[in-house]
């Protein structure tokens, strides 16, 4: 029988299954950061349990760490305690790899795992972070878990799971100039809604997806959760295998050959059945900008802010009105007339080298507009930062008026000092435009790195296709 990629990944990890379908799934890779792990380590200790297999753990602090003045350490004492608690916990139990604060390989976990070859096709990858779906780019069963499950995985190397429904999202055709994986992700969420993927595992396919780089696929899978799906993945192909070759934790020699032979089977068989199929035409996708407080509130750059009066569903209408009030926007305003205060290029969605290159290509020889108070470029990891500096991208950012920062989650969720002030409007390459996400009262518009750069220069949203 034809199997979906999800069937194959699932079957490869079932340790035990109950009659009602509840299964114990074996977990290959456990990513651990400082925010969602302290209670899990404490729970283990209180119960007198030992971690099952510490070589499954890859860890780094990322949410709380500052992105400037590293010589001064972590000034916020509560953040510092959380990072030091992670240090102490990993020191005590061990890990395959730990990149502490200021380590040259430290960074956002979802950037660090793949770039070190710690995310390999066919793995189950979990982390106490919803953006773990990122690793689905490598045909992994990868999803976020809560802290109780972090403890469960540490104690048992398994998770109690039930099989999800399957959805194929096929994007066919060729993406236009200036249209990136981020725009594809936002367009998909606009099409299915933020709850459209709830209960589903999404496979992204079609010619436009196959033509994406691994970094583009990571951006896309990263935002599966914003479409309601805990996980999204892409089949293995040459792009996947070429990316992994020679990474620190990638297999070598004969083991590599054996692994590649297995990885080549990680795709849906012809004729495999999905519970739902959604098809988008790549040519229809324009550079996207969110206008509201949910990622599904998104339109193309050439559109206007939607009018709640035209919405028939009263609950939706009220949601739109509330969003517009919070965002300080009027219906029917052209998106390109919306002026911004800050720009953030970074996050597990868009902080990899290609993202920085795309932004730098727009910024080169130009300068941030006078009304932009702060423009931040925050590389996803120490390795990304180093590579960008080797390519001279840091100089492009700085010459354009950006601040070039140290790696971390930064203003995506504003747990550190990088944040919006109440009422400030930001063009952000992150993943969530929720109320208060980037700081209490802050107004977030999600865009691609190239679009963030174009907005920085114009001081308002602008069509990147006009400046490329």
């Amino acid at each position: 029988m034809s199997k979906t990629l999800y069937d194959k990944l699932w079957e490869n990890h079932v340790v035990h299954q109950e009659a009602d379908g509840t299964a114990l799934l074996y977990i290959d890779r456990h990513l651990v950061h400082e925010v969602t792990s302290p209670q899990a380590f404490e729970g283990l200790k209180l119960a007198g349990r030992k971690p099952w297999r510490v070589s499954s753990i890859v860890s780094t602090p990322d949410h709380n760490t500052p992105t400037d003045h590293w010589d001064e350490g972590i000034k916020d004492p509560i953040s510092r305690l959380q990072v030091e608690t992670l240090d102490a916990n990993i020191r005590e139990v061990g890990a395959l790899a730990y990149f502490p604060f200021k380590d040259p390989r430290m960074g956002i976990l979802h950037v660090v795992g793949p770039e070190n070859g710690a995310t390999l096709p066919g793995m189950t990858v979990v982390c106490g972070d919803s953006h773990t779906s990122t690793h689905g780019a490598f045909a992994c069963l990868a999803h976020g878990i809560g802290t109780s499950e972090v403890e469960h995985v540490m104690a048992t190397q398994c998770l109690v799971q039930k099989k999800s429904k399957t959805m194929l999202i096929a994007v066919e055709g060729k993406l236009g100039k200036g249209v990136t994986a981020k725009d594809v992700a936002l367009a998909i969420i606009g099409a299915i809604g933020t709850a459209g993927g709830t209960g589903y595992a999404i496979e992204f396919g079609g010619s436009a997806i196959r033509s994406l780089s691994m970094e583009g696929r990571m951006t896309l899978c990263n935002m599966a959760i914003e479409g309601g799906a805990r996980m999204g993945f892409v089949a293995v192909d040459d792009t996947t295998i070429n990316y992994l070759n020679g990474r620190p934790f990638s297999p070598q020699g004969e083991t590599w050959d054996k692994a590649v032979a297995y990885w080549r089977t990680l795709h849906s068989d012809p004729g495999a059945q999905f519970d739902r199929v959604v098809t988008l035409k790549a040519e229809d996708i324009r550079p996207q900008v969110t206008w509201g407080t949910s990622p599904e509130m998104v339109v193309g750059i050439d559109a206007v802010v939607p009018d709640p009066a035209k919405e028939a569903d009263p609950v939706k209408r009220e949601g739109m009105e509330r969003a517009l009030q919070y965002m300080g926007l009027n219906p029917n305003t052209p998106i390109q007339n919306i002026a911004i205060d800050k720009v953030f290029i970074g996050s597990c969605t868009n902080s990899r080298i290609e993202d920085l290159r795309q932004a730098a290509a727009v910024l080169k020889g130009r300068h941030v507009a006078a009304n932009v108070k702060l423009a931040l470029a925050v590389p996803g990891s120490g390795l990304v930062k180093r590579q960008a500096e080797e390519e001279g991208l840091d100089k492009v950012f700085v010459a354009a008026g950006f601040e070039w920062r140290e790696p971390g989650c930064s203003m995506c969720l504003a747990m550190n000092a990088d944040r919006l002030e109440p009422g400030e409007r930001c063009a952000s390459t992150s993943n969530r435009n929720f109320e208060g996400r980037q700081g209490p009262g802050g107004r977030t518009h999600l865009v691609s790195p190239a679009m963030a750069a174009a907005a920085a220069i114009a001081g308002r949203f602008a069509d990147v296709r006009d400046v490329l």
Partner: protein, 213 residues
């Protein structure tokens, strides 16, 4: 984990869709390394007029009188009534911890985000999905009736209104058992420790690249 069997509780209405976990517990409170004490900061940005910081005396902060959970009639509520896609966004278990610490033991919604839904069961909170039409009636009744209580009967899988109308709901059999008995998942899984070891050994031979040291 506390058991959940049957609850008769005051209902508080939160009439919004897509309530995200950033709203349920804002990021600055995630810096805690503890599991408890999040209740006073549940819905912090909606509940207070100022910007909250960890370690503050929350009783001294100005409250937003327009926020529904601040209204006297909903004090002591144990059942939260809301709309679609509740708990979307971040996987932070601090969200169910905050709701539980606030006093909520059951949440009734049209739908829930997957990770949040799962996290509730790990903490003895029962998330209940009901059809939109039933939810709409519940909102109307709560609004019209001060002191409105619902009975949530997990063994019978029903929400019972004061007028006696019982609304059935679905719950996964395994999760139901765990809630009713207050079982610890880890203990249950470790009954299969030998099977996990055998699976792991086989895997180590067949896919050695997964076991880099």
């Amino acid at each position: 984990m506390d058991k959940f069997v049957r609850l008769e509780g005051l209902v508080a209405p939160l009439d919004r869709s897509n309530v995200d976990t950033d709203a349920i517990i804002p990021k600055q409170f995630l810096k805690s390394i503890k599991r408890s004490g999040f209740g006073p900061n549940a819905f912090d940005e909606w509940r207070y007029m100022d910007v909250g910081q960890p370690g503050q005396d929350n009783s001294q902060r100005p409250k937003n009188p327009n926020f529904v959970l601040n209204q006297p009639r909903y004090q002591g509520a144990e059942v939260l009534l809301t709309r679609a896609n509740f708990g979307c966004g971040s996987s932070r278990e601090h969200a169910p911890w905050a709701l539980l610490d606030f006093g909520f033991k059951a949440i009734i919604a049209e739908s829930f985000a997957d990770i949040f839904f799962n996290n509730c069961f790990k903490n003895g909170i029962l998330p209940i999905m009901l059809p939109a039409a039933e939810i709409e009636v519940l909102f109307q009744q709560v609004e019209a009736t001060p002191g409105y209580k619902l009975v949530v009967d997990l063994p019978a899988q029903a929400v019972v209104r004061p007028d006696g109308h019982a609304i059935p709901f679905q719950v996964d059999a395994f999760r139901k058992e765990c809630l009713i008995n207050g079982w610890d998942d880890i203990g249950l899984t470790l009954r299969h420790a030998d099977k996990i070891k055998a699976f792991e050994e086989k895997r180590r031979v067949e896919q050695p690249w997964l076991f880099a040291q």
